[in-house]
Amino acid sequence: MRVTFQQELAELERALQGEAHLVVRSLRGALGALQRQDVELAEEVIAFDDEVDRQYFAIQSGIQELLARQTPVAIDLRLVLAMLHVNLHLERAADYCVTIAKLVKLAQALEGDASLVEGLEEMGNRAEEMLVVALESFADRDLERAELLVDLDELIDTANRRLVHDVLALGGNPELREWGLRMILVSRCLERIGDHAVDIGEQTAFLITGEFREFTDASHPDGSSATR
């Protein structure tokens, strides 16, 4: 048994889960800033991205070193490759949190609509739930649970479409319209975080089955490509 190698793999996976925790914190911060129009918190979220990036680079270089030194094969190789992808998805998700925080700053002086913000909060909670499901099913090697991400994503996508209608219904007040446009982008960011969670689920499937497939894709929106 290659003890050191297995330890290194486990440490990298722990670091990846640590990074996910940072991303969830960042998302919470962004949603809190949105809810309370808290510019100071938005600034914190933006600065906090350095922490995520630090973790991202550390994992990236850990994987590079592991590949160079340990020549992983079979399930170990799939784990390393999956971690490389998950690392990137997490870093991207954190970037969307930063974008939300910046939009909060841009919208701070504008008149808004409370019920619409509530809808965004709900989307944000779903996005957070998806990240948690994605990372837990990765950790547990739970394919069935990873595949649930497709259904969860459907909910977020629906909410995203509904929000566009809600913004259009806000009426002709220019200030409200500008605010609404910012919120469409917030909605889009949350929807993308959900997509990254689905992609992490696909990496879980690859890790377990050894076959790469997209759970759904644009040319097979009904998910028919998911059959093996």
Binding site: A15, E19, R28, L41, G62
Partner: protein, 289 residues
């Protein structure tokens, strides 16, 4: 996922643990204790230099690997560390090797004492045709360390990760063991006299992959207590086990004379991900020769 129950009003700070948790990360050079300090070493056989102008330091509690193609002088070099070259007629050495700040080749230094402090494990397992026990007890007996000999033998066998396999049959002949077990027995024999440094010259090249894994895992264990220097032609083995790696190459003179030189010496991850010297890169990527 870690706890995500409580909603944070503020994002808060982050504990700065080493994210990838790489426990075997090297201490910075200024915190490393030097065991061997080699200065401008040239070794010749019958007046012909086999290895020239090598300077490097070997640090405590690290695994240091010497790699390079045949004829690069890596085996010649490791033999300088326990004065094995003294035994080869015609071998001559210029330059100095300091061992814990003392000249290893100083006139007052006893070569036998040196070989007690600096043990060596060879490519082919070479147990004596005696019992398992007597093999391990051999060194201590020679040195008169016979008090608590049974404990000493057991401790050495445990350190060499062999006790579980042979603890119940110490009186059996060492030659009945498998090749991998014999090699670990030789490591135990080396450990029984409580050396400071363990030199390993291709310790796994005669072993099957499972036995090789045993030896490599063992090196990770042993470096907590010992300083390990290994010569290997198996690059991946150096990548797996070594903290620092020295790459040696061969220089061919106009008259065809071949001499080993030290090309690059750095942390192992550096050597295998982004070496400084083109010759190192060509060797580790398999473009050499």
């Amino acid at each position: 996922m870690p706890d995500t129950e409580t909603e944070l009003v503020r994002i808060g700070g982050v504990s700065r643990e080493d994210p990838a948790g790489r426990a075997r990360n090297l201490p910075p050079p200024e915190q490393r204790e030097t065991v061997f300090d080699v200065r401008d070493l040239t070794v010749s056989y019958s007046g012909v230099p086999a290895l020239k102008n090598v300077s490097l330091q070997v640090h405590r509690n690290l695994v240091t690997a010497f790699i390079g193609p045949s004829g690069c002088g890596k085996s010649t070099f490791i033999r300088c560390f326990n004065r094995m070259n003294d035994l080869i007629p015609g071998a001559a050495m210029e330059g100095t090797i300091l061992y814990h700040d003392e000249d290893l080749y100083g006139r007052q230094v006893d070569a036998v004492e040196v070989r007690k402090r600096i043990g060596m494990v060879f490519q082919k397992p070479n147990p004596f045709p005696k019992s398992i026990y007597d093999n391990v007890a051999f060194g201590p007996r020679v040195l008169g360390l016979t008090d608590g000999l049974d404990d000493r033998v057991e401790r050495a066998l445990r350190q060499a990760a062999l006790w579980d396999e042979v603890g119940g049959r110490l009186k059996e002949g060492a030659l009945s063991l498998s090749g991998g077990q014999q090699q670990r027995l030789c490591i135990a024999r080396c450990l029984a006299v409580e050396p400071d440094v363990i030199l390993m010259d291709e310790p796994a090249s005669a072993l099957d992959p499972i036995s090789t894994t045993h030896i490599e895992d063992l090196m990770h264990e042993l470096k907590r207590d010992y300083t390990i220097v290994i010569v290997t032609h198996n690059m991946q083995q150096a990548a797996r086990v070594a903290d620092v790696t020295a790459f040696f190459s061969v220089e061919v003179a106009a008259d065809g004379r071949r001499t080993g030189v030290l090309v690059e010496y750095d942390a192992t991850p550096k050597i295998f991900t982004n070496p400084e010297d083109k010759r190192t890169e060509d060797y580790v990527t398999g473009r050499f020769g």
